[in-house]
């Protein structure tokens, strides 16, 4: 089993979710995160003082899938999350030792 972890722009989340659903992904978990990278942050001004905020809001999507799906999922995410502008994000692929569904105790493929 593999875990795909993608950091994407927040406003892309619905598109990515729909695209993943369409290729048969039935589950995923998302987290609000903040990213630091090539994409510039923004300036904020309070009472005449200027601050540069480097961290940019991002969303992290985690999907655990069978090994055979990896390529397809990565490509789907790329296609649906891409804007072509700096800050589109990254996709990381990890190996997973074991997956269990809490409700049933099922393991492996059947658990996701």
């Amino acid at each position: 089993m593999k875990k795909i972890e993608a950091i994407i722009k927040p406003f892309k989340i619905d598109e990515v979710k729909d695209a993943l659903s369409q290729i048969g992904i039935e589950g995923m978990t998302i987290t609000e995160v903040k990213g630091f990278g090539r994409q510039k942050g923004h300036k904020e001004v309070y009472r005449g003082a200027e601050y540069v905020v480097d961290f940019v809001p991002k969303i992290k999507i985690e999907v655990v899938i069978d090994d055979v799906m990896v390529e397809r999922v990565v490509e789907t995410i790329i296609k649906s999350a891409q804007t072509g502008k700096i800050g589109d994000g990254k996709i990381f692929v990890y190996s997973i030792d074991e997956v269990t569904r809490i409700r049933t105790g099922e393991k492996g493929k059947d658990a996701v």
């Binding site: 619905d14 923004h42 904020e44 001004v45 309070y46 905020v53």
Partner: protein, 407 residues
Amino acid sequence: MVNTADTLFIMLSTALVMLMTPGLALFYGGMVRSKNVLGTIMQSFVILAVISVEWVLWGYSMAFGPDLAGVTGTLEWFGLNGVGLSPFAGYSETLPHLTFMIFQGMFAVITPALITGAFAERMKFGTFLLFTILWATLVYNPICHWVWGVGGWIRNLGALDFAGGTVVHISSGASALAAALLIGKRKGYGTEPIHPHNLPMTILGAALLWFGWFGFNAGSALSCGPLAVNAFVATHVAAAAAALTWTIVEWIYRGKPTTLGTASGAVAGLVGITPACGFVGLTAALIIGIVAGVLCYFAIVMKTKLGYDDSLDVVGIHGVGGAWGALATGLFADKAINAAGANGLFFGNPGQLGIQALSVIVTIGYAFIMSLILLKALDWIMGLRVSPEDEVSGLDLTQHNETAYNL
């Protein structure tokens, strides 16, 4: 002669009406996404600043100053020239002229602030500000003069508008429609979820509106007598009735009553009773409220079907509610309540309904067309709408270099 109690009444009413604009800022601010809350609040707050200044400079003179052919006041009272502490009998014999002026100033402030709900979450701040000043000058001031100014042609027709059904609500509602149509839908409208980001803030705003509306409506009697009492009670009854009916209708229609619905219903009722509260009795107030709750609810449901993006429902609540109130005044007005008013259809005077209808149509037409022209021109000169990237990032950051929350 100046009457102390009346002066006090109107000063305090002025303070209450002043509070409505920040109330509106919160009411609206809670309904937008969190990236736009400051931008939304700012639009109301800056109007409180800029229109107050506009009003003392030229607005009051245009609206209430010496009449020019029934269509506008002249600039004779520019900079409050001649507007002092003694009463101006044309408006009130018991109030210092300045007291009347500042009370009316708060109406001039909140009216353009109402419009901002239509183009929420996507308008350029600079363009918005210029639009507001132009709109106040070319739309609000004349309409106010027509309806309330000595010599105004709609006033002379005998149209009844106790506290601003046409002047405030219809004018802003019609302009909101123009703005919503012209500026177009928000990015993602209809495809992505666009949820209110802070409904308790919206409820707080509705509460402050309700509270301030006592000053708005009862204060419009300009004197602390029976008329004010009638307006006060009618206002509360209509607000409560409309809040209740909206709740019930939504419960039936959608399966559950919503908090936002109850609050919206209250506002709809307050809008509906505004033109009528000093002319109709309490049973009429109850009916006006009940109808306002139902009517505005379905106006909003309709919007979703018609497909334009009047983001915070200015048309459905202020436009429709205001028009209903103005017409209802033509139905329920009763000289037994206000001898200086007129009887409505149900009291044997069908003509009044015609006059009311005319004032509604003229106000809608004028406000709609003028707003369209102004916005079109501004769009051409400086652009109405922020860039798509800025819309995604939100107004707070892109227009004001700020973030609302760091919780």
